[in-house]
Symmetry: C2
Amino acid sequence: MRFSDEMARKAQKTAKRPVRRRTEIGKSAPKRRNMRAADRERAIVDEAIRFFAEHGFEGQTRELAKRMGITHSAIYRHFPSKEALIERVYQEVYLSRWSPDWGPMIRDRSLSLEARLTRFYLDYAARVFEYNWVRIFVFSGMKSFGITGRYLDIIRREIIEPAAAELRHDLKLPDAKTHPLGERETELFWGLHGRIFYLAIRKFIYETPIPPDLDAIVRDAVQTFMDGARATMPRLLVRD
Amino acid sequence: MRFSDEMARKAQKTAKRPVRRRTEIGKSAPKRRNMRAADRERAIVDEAIRFFAEHGFEGQTRELAKRMGITHSAIYRHFPSKEALIERVYQEVYLSRWSPDWGPMIRDRSLSLEARLTRFYLDYAARVFEYNWVRIFVFSGMKSFGITGRYLDIIRREIIEPAAAELRHDLKLPDAKTHPLGERETELFWGLHGRIFYLAIRKFIYETPIPPDLDAIVRDAVQTFMDGARATMPRLLVRD
DNA sequence: CGCATTTGTGACCAAATGGTCATTTTCTGT
DNA sequence: ACAGAAAATGACCATTTGGTCACAAATGCG
């Protein structure tokens, strides 16, 4: 069978320029549309985000292209390689999920720390609890490109450590500048963060149901956390 | 180039039975070892667990085989397909990470609930915080085979709900049998669980450093949680 | 309108990949 | 020690997959 396959292919190759008629007889043709480069690029990125979120980065360019009604070759006109497309997807997804307000929000002492944390996590959940984001985040983590690490650094710097410092202030404990934050203190806040993010994992990674009223859960989480932290924090300072 | 390739292959195919001498001249040969079927099967499964944990289930059987010093064909003597191997890996990994003691431990009223939760999560962390387990768990979750769901069901039934019921008893609130557990109550405990598991995710999925003294963090987590839960729980009962 | 430029296509390639099988090598029981 | 059973190999296959390229179809614009 091998040989005739080969022959068939050669034959096909030789018979060049097959008459490709766009309009079938008596049928209004579904014209092929050429998009401007910039638009097509956007369209590809958008679809790629959805596609890779579902299938992981091993998903095939051909299938991705089919979903958009184009050929995979068209993708390669706009992106030099699959790697480059993936890199672009990272860029888009990561950049769109951080609000510059969040850092200041944590430090804004016109509200109680509990209120600030509640506002932040309500906002955070609203923005981050999305299929595409969560799955691409985790997929990229598993491929270990160091990208997730960079994102977590931001969270630590902008949320975790400031919040821990604020709790010190709240409880009238020594300032973080004189007594540096201990690991167990910051872990308290990583705990709150993990608790919230674990909801997203349950929903989008394990695809297990979570309560419909997410806001209530977030509020409860912050409240419970603050009650607990107020009790635990002084102990940590003594023992650290 | 295509054609001569083809020819070369055919030629090779024709020249059958190449003299394969095991011992090079004057060299002690590294003998090939035949293992008994059962042993080889175990060896394959063990290596596959490590391999798939690293590379995900798209990892190639050839590479897996190479790591064991055998050919990928040998794998197919012991497993009918890659799918079957993966299925077996699931079995092994999931089964080995649940202790029958855990359910009873939560219900054992000879210790305080806080002590029970501490014991459980210390034990849980010791058993579950392992590269292979965590990654295969998450990988399988992303492929959505419903396996992770089954595992979470066990956690809910054996840990989350019993623990919530115990907290009711602890706080002298109405029994769970007369007042069924509310979603927000069980979410409290999912919160604790998520908080702990998020440590594993940070370590093995994001590959970000976590504190070396995991036990201290677990203790703090349970303590903070209990302090918070004692304050929050009564509110939930009223509002639910 | 007409054509140069841009966008998209389909055939093709090479390497990878899951899987099969005839043959060879090793092992075990007698 | 040796024959038959069991284990392992390597050549092979079909299909998949990232990527290229010559050519065809749309489109902007003078």
